[in-house]
Amino acid sequence: MIPDKINPRLPGGFNLPPFGVHQILALIIVCISLWAVGTLWLGMQAASQWVGSWQDDIHIHVYIDGEKSDITKSLEQELASIAQVSSVRRISQEEAARWMQEWLTGGGLEQHELVKRLPVTFELSLTDEKSEFLFADIRDTARRFGAQINEDEVNLAQVHDLLSQVSYLAWFASLILAIAMALIISNTLRMTLLARADEIHLMRLLGAKEWFVRTPFILEGMLLGAGAGVLAWLLLWPVVLGVGGWMATMQVDLNAWVLLLPLLFGGGIVGTLGAVIATARVVSRETSV
């Protein structure tokens, strides 16, 4: 009955508005933003895996002059009594010197000289380096005995703190980008809405329900966002494959699959949000008959 070449596209309901150049532009922009967000989180993933890979066997070293053996003894006891310290190993000056000489091969250092100058070292193994006052406790204990703690190691052990701060930043950046994307989508939809103002007005005059008028635009926003999300996810693969070899040397195994659903739904939600913003302002204005 309907000629082949004609495809009745009635407005309203679940019919999508036509997809034009504005929509494609919005799709690309949103896709790039989502890709940036995806890359950011891939980076976070890599960072936390990398930190995790060496954080397990981190040790804190405490140094003390080896002259007074009673003080070193009680320091050792005090350190061992800190709750999150699992074990304290005493490294003698001889061992330290040997180790050092291995390290600085053929430095021409005199073993005895070295032994005399080196302090006694305690190597602390930690059960939970995330514990809040652990490092302050160790530092205080060490100070009371005139010993020193290796602050560089403390900083490394506390990298997870830094990492969680960075992840707040990542969330913040994602949120800002999400708002920007929602506004871009809402702006695109507003152009469509303006172009179709007559149609919308007419549908209302004919007694259309509000959902009937707005659904096509909300659907379009949702599809735009979700489509951009999937596209952005696909574009993450070149990144993953490109840096994969380099990452493997750092014992990092990037997993892009976990980002598929967040990007898909994130895009969808952002798109829907943009559409809701755009359609919220489509009030029924009554022009002349």
Partner: protein, 260 residues
């Protein structure tokens, strides 16, 4: 007490007269009207736009089901404003307006929607969608009411057949002449089989012959029971197509002739 009786009696006489007028003025269709309530009832109706302009005032008028009513009056008399109120485009500022048993002053949005679904509107600028073909334009009122596309086609075909445009189903409005566009607008107003058709100068920019044929369609619909209210400046149409004439002047009722 006596005063009360007197005034009650005079009200009775008034409404009696009104009925006589309508009975004589209109044929059998009036008898089909079961309820006492007219299709459209206005009492001291007043409309003031937000700009402060009073477009209509003190309008008391009843329109029975099945009537063919011409709204006449100078430009700015308030014809369009009255029609707009009848489909809920603007709300009355004061007074009473009851359309199809619904009080328009405090009707909810969904009541207004119901009214609009039972009202066919022909706009002066016919408001056809130029980016959509004739089929889509005419099908719109039914689509809005949730009809499926397959069901729409026979109905739209039939309606277009009625206005003699069934071969233009897939044309676009810009490929039609002004008169043909007006006929598409009529077709769209009648697709949903409305109880009332509101027409705002449907013959506005048509030549006499085309205007007559547009009127023929509206009269024919009216014969089938549709109430037609039409604003017009073309007084010459009244000779060939008689009907009730309601004359507005500067927003108030200036005359009501049951038969011109």
């Amino acid at each position: 007490m006596l005063m009360y009786c007197l005034s009650a009696a005079s009200v009775g006489i008034q409404s009696f007269c009104l009925h006589v007028v309508t009975f004589t003025g209109f044929e059998v269709t009036v008898f089909r009207m079961s309820s006492e309530q007219p299709l459209i009832h206005m009492q001291r109706l007043m409309l003031r736009y937000p700009t402060g302009k009073t477009a209509l005032s003190g309008l008391t008028l009843d329109i029975e089901q099945g009537q063919f009513v011409y709204l006449v009056g100078e430009s700015g008399a308030g014809k369009s404003s009255l029609l707009k109120m009848l489909y809920g485009g603007v709300r009355p500022s004061s007074g009473l307006l009851v359309t199809q048993q619904i009080d328009m002053r405090d009707a909810s949005e969904s009541r207004i929607r119901d009214i609009r679904r039972r009202t066919g509107i022909i706009f002066q600028d016919h408001k056809l969608l130029f980016s959509r073909c004739v089929f889509e334009n005419v099908a719109l009122p039914l689509r809005v009411q949730g009809w499926k596309t397959e069901r729409l086609i026979p109905r739209v075909r039939k309606v277009l057949q009625y206005v003699g445009l069934e071969d233009r189903l897939w044309s676009y409005p810009e490929a039609l002449s002004g008169g043909e566009q007006q006929r598409v607008a009529i077709a769209r107003a009648m697709t949903a089989n409305p109880a009332v058709i509101l027409a705002d100068e449907p013959t506005g920019n048509l030549d006499v012959e085309t205007a007559r044929s547009v009127l023929d369609y509206l009269m024919d619909l009216n014969k089938q029971g549709t109430t037609v209210i039409m604003a017009t400046h073309d007084l010459h149409l009244l000779k060939s197509h008689p009907g009730r004439v309601v004359q507005l002047h500067a927003g108030s009722l200036a005359g009501d002739y049951s038969e011109y």
